[in-house]
Subunit: 183 residues, 2 copies
Amino acid sequence: MQMTPMIESFVMHFGEMGSKWGFNRTVGQMVALLVVAKEALSANQIAEALSISRGNVSMGLKELQSWRLIQLQHKPGDRKEYYQAAGSIWELANRVFEERRKREMDPTLSLLRNILVDAPANDNEVHAQQKLQEIHDLLEGITKWSSELQSMSPEKLNTLMKLGSGVGKVLDMKDKFLNKTSD
Amino acid sequence: MQMTPMIESFVMHFGEMGSKWGFNRTVGQMVALLVVAKEALSANQIAEALSISRGNVSMGLKELQSWRLIQLQHKPGDRKEYYQAAGSIWELANRVFEERRKREMDPTLSLLRNILVDAPANDNEVHAQQKLQEIHDLLEGITKWSSELQSMSPEKLNTLMKLGSGVGKVLDMKDKFLNKTSD
DNA sequence: TTAAACTTTCAGTAATTTCTGAAACATGTA
DNA sequence: TACATGTTTCAGAAATTACTGAAAGTTTAA
């Protein structure tokens, strides 16, 4: 894998952004590399391209597997393992999105549920619980909504996105329609 | 601000989650504390409640201001500055969402635009640029879509969320309707 | 079996991030 | 002016996270 200046700048940028996206620098670089690579790469090729240790690559691959972002591939007559991005950009983005939801929202949701079953012990806690309830409901709403969106076909999702804030008009239309039929 | 066990467990949890959400432990604890607090708190009260240094609180408040999550308040006859959460849970979530979009997507979008104006230098780069274009389009789509959603009224957004994957049906309806009128 | 070719693990080190506390700064008051 | 009451800054320390490289583990083949 030749790191031309163009590819290198992209890979390095993904490294920098990595931490904001939930993984570390080298893991970020690894995804970027595998996404632009035409062919699957071996662990050694990755280590060489990024100038990082073989051990680090091994750990990074493990991490990327837990995100379901890469796929193993075997080449006939070769004992090495080759890795490639697991699907289209769209699919990868979906996985990142879902995985982050799991890591960033689910634990909080479950903590809030636990807290909210207890009776408030004083005035402050009454107020606090109201806030916690609001947070809980919001997180739950987002969770449901996003899992429903993910179950929609890409085409339909695309229509929806293209529609943008025009969704508002469609919703109005729906109301009118429903009102008419319920006359 | 008395840290009852209930409030403490919530605040500490937000501290742990903080880093996943884009800020550090103490900043996470600080938001949590200010959200559940009934009254605005002074920097010293925050430092005391969380057992952290006054300097750390000052830095954290600065950070939270850059996220537009807190508001300054002055009490008459008191030179101290008091802080409180800047708005409802809904508003706070919106700000976090928008701020993260800025930090996590905008820089990548701009890098990709720069890369994509250059002509590919070889076969690998042709393939790479295709991928980069896909990433670019996806990020751009999400950016537009999310800013349009944010410009919708909370009620409409709520309708949309409640609708869930039922949006699909509404979209079909819209198509039928448009086809009829265009006959 | 033994060896060759590969992968994973993990203790120790390096790099990065966060936090403290003292000094500097700001502002109002006597 | 000097002082009291606050806030911010920032150098250094502490804590956390990431990385290396050598040793251990795994798999296939002869």
